[in-house]
């Protein structure tokens, strides 16, 4: 509070230039959200006005000066039923409308472009499929459905873009998704709305919506050299995943080509769609997600790779449509699955718990 008088000047200046009562509508879902919003506003105003008018009217008409003797009225069942059923009906309409909208916000179309968002104290890291990373910023093309897959490395965060009317928590240990289709190029606010510790209020940034062409230019300008999938491929080799998942006749793990999106039968008999969440789980908690016909010998990678690593692996597995390259890597780096490489992998693992020996023996 070291500048009292500039405050007033600043204030008037902003009053004239910056004042708004409603956020911009910059996504396809925004007008739909606002339609429901204004519907509820109208319902509320109607209800509020009714109560207000009655209050004022009764206060004037039945003021003690004007109406000194009260008439003792017990009540009216008819009126009670009326004002139970009419609000109930309205609320149910609002519920149904809201539910439809909610499912629309959280059900992405099949052709949506996926962007990963990793939240950590106190920044957002967004990862485009081409390997472009951004901190506290997100560039997206207008007119294209974008799916965000969010995860947090530490505490709950929440990814909020008011202009798009969407918001989703990034939670530790599990992917959440949301999608949007931006309509108007421009720069919009991006906030973390779930309280996440000291610098919660600094965990904000901007979303830049560009035309398709500008977006393409931006992509080529900010490429980091390797796409997510390429990073994943490197990680896949360095973690020796290809020692088992190599589609050879003697392979101890299932082939991963075209596995993404397919229906798998697990050893528990459960049938499941291999989506992002499944792939993540089977990397970190493999024993619960073993494909039928395979032994639960895969070690857990919990604590060995961070969320970005997992994302890169998943992106790699998603794009894997043949095992050719994996086998190529095996040959070129001479990582033939042998007992020695197996024990090396075991030795290299850092496990905090004592006596982990034998944990992965078949």
């Amino acid at each position: 509070m070291n500048h009292i008088s500039p405050v007033i000047g600043q204030f008037l200046d902003k009053w004239m230039t910056n004042f708004r009562l409603f956020p911009p509508e910059a996504s396809k879902i925004a007008p739909q959200m606002d339609a429901l919003f204004f519907f509820i506003v109208v319902v509320s105003l109607f209800g509020f006005a009714m109560v207000l008018v009655l209050l004022v009217a009764f206060s004037i008409l039945y003021n003690k000066k004007r109406h000194p003797v009260a008439l003792q009225i017990e009540g009216s069942a008819l009126l009670e039923i009326t004002w139970t059923l009419i609000p109930l009906g309205l609320f149910l309409v609002i519920f149904a409308w809201g539910a439809i909208l909610y499912f629309r916000i959280f059900t992405p179309p099949a052709n949506a472009m996926n962007i990963y968002v990793v939240g950590k104290q106190w920044m957002w890291k967004t990862e485009h499929p081409g390997g472009q990373h951004e901190i506290n910023a997100l560039h997206v093309p207008a007119g294209r459905a974008i799916q965000l897959t969010l995860i947090s490395q530490d505490v709950f965060h929440s990814f909020s873009i008011p202009a798009f009317r969407i918001k989703r928590e990034a939670i530790p240990g599990r992917y959440t998704t949301v999608w949007f289709e931006a309509t108007k190029p421009g720069t919009y606010h991006l906030f973390c709305t779930q309280y996440c510790g000291s610098n919660h209020s600094r965990m904000s940034g901007e979303v830049v919506v560009q035309t398709q062409e500008d977006y393409r230019k931006w992509l080529s300008r900010s490429t980091s050299g390797a796409s997510l999938a390429q990073n994943g491929e490197r990680l896949f080799a360095s973690l020796s995943c290809n020692a088992c998942h190599n589609a050879r006749p003697d392979a101890r793990g299932p082939s991963l080509a075209n596995v993404y999106g397919s229906r798998l039968t697990l050893s528990s008999g459960e049938r499941i769609v291999a989506d992002d969440a499944y792939l993540r789980q089977s990397i970190l908690n493999p024993s619960q997600h073993v494909t039928q016909g395979y032994a639960p010998i895969m070690p857990t990678y919990q604590g060995r790779i961070d969320e970005e690593g997992v994302i890169a692996l998943i992106e790699f597995i998603k794009q894997l449509d043949s095992d050719y390259r994996i086998q190529q890597t095996l040959n070129s780096t001479d990582l033939v699955p042998s007992e020695s490489s197996q024990t090396a992998a075991v030795k290299g693992r850092e496990i905090k718990q004592s006596n982990s020996r034998g944990g992965i023996q078949p």
Binding site: F106, T177, V273, D275, A277
Partner: protein, 99 residues
């Protein structure tokens, strides 16, 4: 309001309940050692519920208590099941679909 609460429950009832409770404990411990698949939890929890009901009715004299006590217990059981079932709506729902 409730004169019945002042009924004195005698030793015979207590002994009978005691014997059935000890018997129940024996049976439930024995069946747990057999592998009955899905029936293990079912049997264990049914016997536990049976025993708990006996304790509530006789050791805690609810059988001889006013309706108010029954009502309060029913409210509590209802709320307990609300906590469990509505949480399970979330937990089971998460497993259903991939949204």
């Amino acid at each position: 309001m409730s004169e019945s609460i002042h009924i004195v429950v005698g030793p015979r009832v207590y002994v009978a309940v005691l014997l059935s409770l000890l018997g129940g404990t024996g049976i439930t411990a024995w069946t747990a050692l057999l592998n009955l698949g899905i029936w293990n939890p079912v049997i264990a929890l049914s016997i536990a519920t049976f025993e708990a009901t006996e304790v509530v009715l006789y050791f805690m004299w609810v059988k001889y208590s006013p309706r108010l006590t029954w009502l309060a217990i029913a409210a509590c059981i209802f709320l307990f099941s609300t906590l469990i079932s509505l949480s399970l709506v979330d937990y089971m729902g998460r497993a259903w679909g991939n949204w």
